[in-house]
């Protein structure tokens, strides 16, 4: 029961994109299509689960004054490893997201969760927190990417729904990301009562 609560907390109550408004750089940068948003969300989730788990395991070994550099070394190593694995086994995804993968290191969601959750809770809770926050981030990015792809190019997950000629170019570009995100946050807040 406790774990489900942690999971829900990450997906809804403390959704990193809609509620905490953390990690805006990858949110706006990678969501030009639904599949890009989803891949970025999943990559971040993988790093988040591992970083939460490792940091929660070693939290008592780390003196307080050097905790931030220690966390960053752990996170940066995980991201570098992920980047190498993606380059080796999913080159197609790496080609579209390559530029943004190293930026996961400085994604404030990850350091934020390390500080706010993993450094205070046990390893199992931390894994669930990483899973919840990661899922919340993935859902938000997929939604935003889907909306932008649909309005901008008339496609959804690469399948054409209407001709690209009628697409609103604005939504493919950065200003469209801000506009779509603003409306999305408004709708989520209103319907979910959070």
């Amino acid at each position: 029961m406790k774990y489900i609560k942690i999971l829900w907390n990450g997906i809804l109550k403390e959704n990193p994109t809609f509620v905490l408004l953390l990690g805006m750089c990858p949110t706006l940068g990678t969501t030009s299509s639904a599949i890009n948003g989803m891949s970025m969300g999943l990559a971040t989730m993988a790093v988040l689960i591992f970083s939460n788990f490792i940091i929660s395991c070693i939290k008592n070994l780390i003196p307080d004054q050097v905790r931030i550099p220690s966390y960053i070394v752990v996170i940066a190593s995980l991201v570098t490893a992920l980047q190498m694995f993606m380059q080796a086994y999913t080159p197609e995804v790496y080609k579209t997201l390559g530029l943004f993968i190293p930026l996961i290191v400085v994604n404030c969601i990850i350091l934020g969760r390390a500080e706010a959750f993993a450094a205070k809770n046990g390893p199992v809770e931390s894994i669930f927190d990483g899973l919840g926050i990661g899922l919340g981030f993935t859902i938000a990015l997929t939604l935003l990417g889907g909306i932008r792809e649909l309005l901008g190019t008339g496609k959804l997950f690469g399948a054409t729904l209407y001709s690209e000629n009628y697409g609103m170019l604005l939504f493919v570009l950065a200003p469209g990301a801000f506009i779509a995100l603003g409306y999305l946050i408004a709708v989520v807040k209103k319907t979910m009562k959070i």
């Binding site: 030009s32 008592n60 490893a81």
Partner: protein
């Protein structure tokens, strides 16, 4: 277990230990992924060469790197089925544009593929198909030696991608650079031979 106090020896030891473990783990990951990454790169290149030459089994016989007029590296791949040239232009809308172009004996373009780009999705990113055969900016079959390829806005014959003139210009500059390197390589006596050829032959 109690939290370690923040004394100098503690902090030094912990940071050193974490860094050493992280470096070790990354070295291991690098070791197991280096092979597949190399294979992927080689496969992408082989597929690219085949597609721009319109064949399926081109064997690279010779690789040569020269510099274009702006000092960018141009790589010439001589195969048994023709020559494929990789050229870049650093001034795309989002950064560097890397193209691979296949040429026939006479210097007409047989095919091209965009290897790397950072152009806007839905705009400049269309370069990967916009200039293909039958599309609006068709450059296949054109010979950059007869007339430098430029967009219609600059007095040329190629239709630029709608709302992406910067990308189109960068793309055509890269194609032209590829052609000049190709022309320089196939006729070493002409003016293009000034390009400093660094022979880095790889025979397979």
């Amino acid at each position: 277990m109690k939290k370690l106090p923040s004394t100098l020896p503690n902090m030094l030891c912990v940071l050193t230990l974490i860094s050493v473990i992280a470096a070790g783990a990354l070295a291991y990951v690098n070791k197991i992924t280096a092979g597949p990454i190399e294979e992927n790169k080689a496969r992408t290149l082989a597929e690219g060469i085949n597609s721009v030459l319109g064949v399926t089994d081109a064997q690279v016989q010779d690789t040569k790197t020269v510099q274009d007029a702006n000092g960018n590296d141009v790589i010439l791949y001589s195969t048994d089925k023709g020559m494929a040239v990789q050229a870049i232009d650093p001034n795309g809308f989002g950064g560097t544009l890397k193209v691979l172009v296949g040429f026939s004996e006479e210097g007409t373009i047989k095919g091209y593929t965009v290897l790397e780009h950072a152009e806007t999705p839905g705009l400049g990113a269309k370069a990967s198909f916009w200039f293909q055969k039958g599309e609006k900016g068709d450059i296949i079959g054109k010979n950059p030696g007869e007339k430098e390829l430029t967009v219609s806005k600059d007095g040329g014959e190629v239709d630029a991608i709608t709302a992406s003139t910067i990308t189109s210009r960068a793309f055509l500059r890269a194609v032209n650079a590829a052609f000049h390197a190709y022309a320089g390589a196939s006729a070493p006596a002409d003016a293009q031979s000034g390009a400093s050829a660094q022979q880095t032959s790889i025979h397979n």
